[in-house]
């Protein structure tokens, strides 16, 4: 798994590639927490390069959603591959996170 970070006028886009599984999820959680610790509370995960997610990854998404729920906070995901979207749907996460087709559409609304 690789993560690249971009600051778009204070909105943080973390672009993730590879597999978000039990062994790699802690690394994603640390990357997100570094932003939150730095008072960046508008975070978009671009999952265009993510081919696989397991409950280890789902746990990180849920923990992040729980942290970013104050007024003005934003948390969402974009560009999900069909298999990743399927797992999020099975887990009932599509009703608790904002999921966008593209990075542009996500940030335009924030």
């Amino acid at each position: 798994m690789d993560i690249t970070t971009a600051d778009r006028e204070g909105k943080i886009v973390l672009s993730v590639t590879g597999r978000v599984d039990t062994s790699t999820a802690p690394e994603l959680e640390q990357a997100i927490n570094r932003q939150i610790d730095d008072q960046k509370r508008q975070i978009l995960l671009n999952f265009a390069g993510v081919t696989y997610i397991s409950s280890g990854g789902l746990r990180v998404l849920l923990a992040t959603a729980k942290k970013l729920k104050n007024p003005g906070d934003k948390f969402g995901l974009c560009c999900l591959a069909p298999e990743v979207l399927k797992i999020l749907k099975l887990a009932g996460f599509t009703s608790i996170f904002a999921i966008y087709p593209s990075e542009g559409e996500a940030l335009a609304g924030w």
């Binding site: 597999r19 599984d21 039990t22 062994s23 081919t51 696989y52 397991s54 409950s55 280890g56 789902l58 746990r59 849920l62 923990a63 959603a65 729980k66 729920k69 069909p82 298999e83 797992i87 099975l90 887990a91 009932g92 608790i96």
Partner: protein
């Protein structure tokens, strides 16, 4: 008929990528579609994680994974010697609750049930044995 393929790993999360890689290789050779392979990798990862975190609770236990091709399906048997635990006895997570109410965790076993075609547990000769089945087509 292909002979069963057996992997032995220690009860360590760091072993998971190797198991996933071997499953992919094997299921590609058996002619499974990419989605079925991802589903199976997910189920096996969840089962192993559960054994490591809730079963052994330490990294020096052994987990044996045996994959057999059975007509149009793959059957994966996962055996461990941790204390008896039937994951199928766990209640289903509440998926309707809001972000604040949703519990972190409890999703792994639920996902196995949803992505696999069969999921069985038995305790035999001092071992927990999980059997996962994935068919080539739903």
């Amino acid at each position: 008929m292909d002979p069963p393929v057996t992997l032995k790993i220690s009860s360590d999360i760091a072993e998971i990528p190797e198991v996933s890689a071997r499953l992919e290789e094997l299921m590609e050779a058996y002619g499974f579609a990419p989605e079925a392979i991802l589903d199976t990798q997910l189920a096996v990862e969840e089962a192993i994680t559960n054994i490591i975190v809730h079963g052994y609770k330490r990294p020096d236990g052994e987990i044996q994974i045996t994959c057999s091709r059975v007509s149009d399906a793959i059957e994966i048997r996962i055996a461990d010697s941790a204390p008896p635990f039937d994951p199928l006895s766990l209640p289903e997570p509440d998926l309707s609750s809001t972000v604040s109410e949703r519990r972190i965790g409890g999703l792994g076993i639920y996902l196995i049930r949803r992505v696999m075609d069969g999921f069985f547990y038995r305790y035999e000769d001092g071992k927990n044995i999980l059997t996962l089945i994935k068919k080539k087509a739903d």
